[in-house]
Symmetry: C2
Subunit: 219 residues, 2 copies
């Protein structure tokens, strides 16, 4: 693990680091991101930082802000609905495809992630919730072995992350029902449709929460 990052080129390290910061809410929506700020913070040259930012903007995780600043985008209601639509297309399908490739070890890893997720919820740890929720879904989807759909899903999570963070920061981790248990049960039974259905429900719940928040903020 450690030796992986050691031999990885800088631009990939920066990319991953920034990615995590966006995904887990360390960068707030609207917050400006400057190249030289990152250079100072992560202690690397400008070139790798520029490449990482370029990559993230092309994935929609950062946006050009009129002038030449980039910042973390804050989706409006219409954009949120687009993200929701796309996620509901892609993620149940990924879940379905993942089922037949899952080994017992994989499933127990998912169970462990879900346990850590629940622990984070119990102690009101928003960052922990975001991280383990992401890792739960990401690990499940990875098992589908489909890189095109997976890259789309990752892109969508990147766009959804900051908004989730805002809502959770406001309302806390209480009342966070998820359908992970349901998904795990179907998974153990080898019921692909059941898993897809559970994941769909899980996504719909999360989406609805943010959606209500956006509706309320809008009016």
């Amino acid at each position: 693990m450690a030796e992986q990052t050691a031999k990885l080129p800088d631009h990939q390290i920066v990319y991953r680091r920034l990615r995590e910061m966006i995904l887990f809410g360390e960068l707030a929506p609207g917050q400006p991101v400057t190249i030289q700020g990152i250079v100072a913070e992560l202690d690397v040259g400008m070139t790798p930082v520029r490449e990482a930012i370029r990559r993230l903007t092309s994935e929609g995780a950062l946006v050009f802000k009129g002038n030449r600043r980039v910042s973390v985008p804050q989706p409006d209601l219409a954009q949120w609905d687009e993200i929701a639509f796309a996620r509901l297309c892609v993620e149940p399908e990924l879940s379905r495809k993942a089922v037949e490739n899952m080994t017992k070890t994989d499933i127990s890893h998912l169970v462990s992630l879900d346990d850590q997720l629940n622990a984070a919820i119990a102690r009101g740890d928003v960052r922990g919730y975001l991280e383990f929720n992401y890792r739960f879904h990401a690990f499940l989807y990875e098992q589908a072995g489909t890189d095109v759909l997976l890259s789309i899903a990752n892109m969508l999570w990147l766009r959804a992350g900051p908004s989730l963070r805002v809502v959770l920061g406001r309302y806390g981790t209480a009342n966070l029902p998820d359908k992970h248990a349901e998904a795990l049960a179907a998974l153990k039974a080898g019921d692909a449709d059941g898993v897809a259905q559970a994941v769909r429900g899980d996504i719909e719940q999360g989406i609805a929460q943010v959606r209500e928040h956006l509706l309320a903020a809008n009016k």
Copy 2:
């Protein structure tokens, strides 16, 4: 148009140029892409080229080849089916949303693009076919005004482009039925579902052609 590219930063110019090269088949699948090769060819510095390549890899238009080489990807059958699935999710939806925003001027522009497309087919111009086919769909989808879905669609076209080129290069532009006329008719009637249906059919045809080719090549 010309003054746009004149004031555009180099990395965007390079990005667009490479993008077109991939989209319209100037770069063959599997062909290695080197930074210094592009530097020499387009006469710009390394940094802009690196940024453009980074962006294209994050969109799946180029892939890291194990070590630090990048090349144009060649989807196998499974990947092609993923692309197909995602396109069929996204593009009919984009078409549907586009309908209500289309003005008469927009429609006549689409008609003009379709005419040029047919002219390209008639003269056996593969590159022209790819370009006008792309521009027909791209223009239609742009009118939906939905940037998230649009960026996904663009990503998928980028992944599909090289394969289309291979098939067309092999079988020529004869026997290229499309459903553009059908789509245009529904569009003029304001029939959103009809447009979505026609686009779905159009995509399915194109997909099937490549799919057969991949099946044949595989066995």
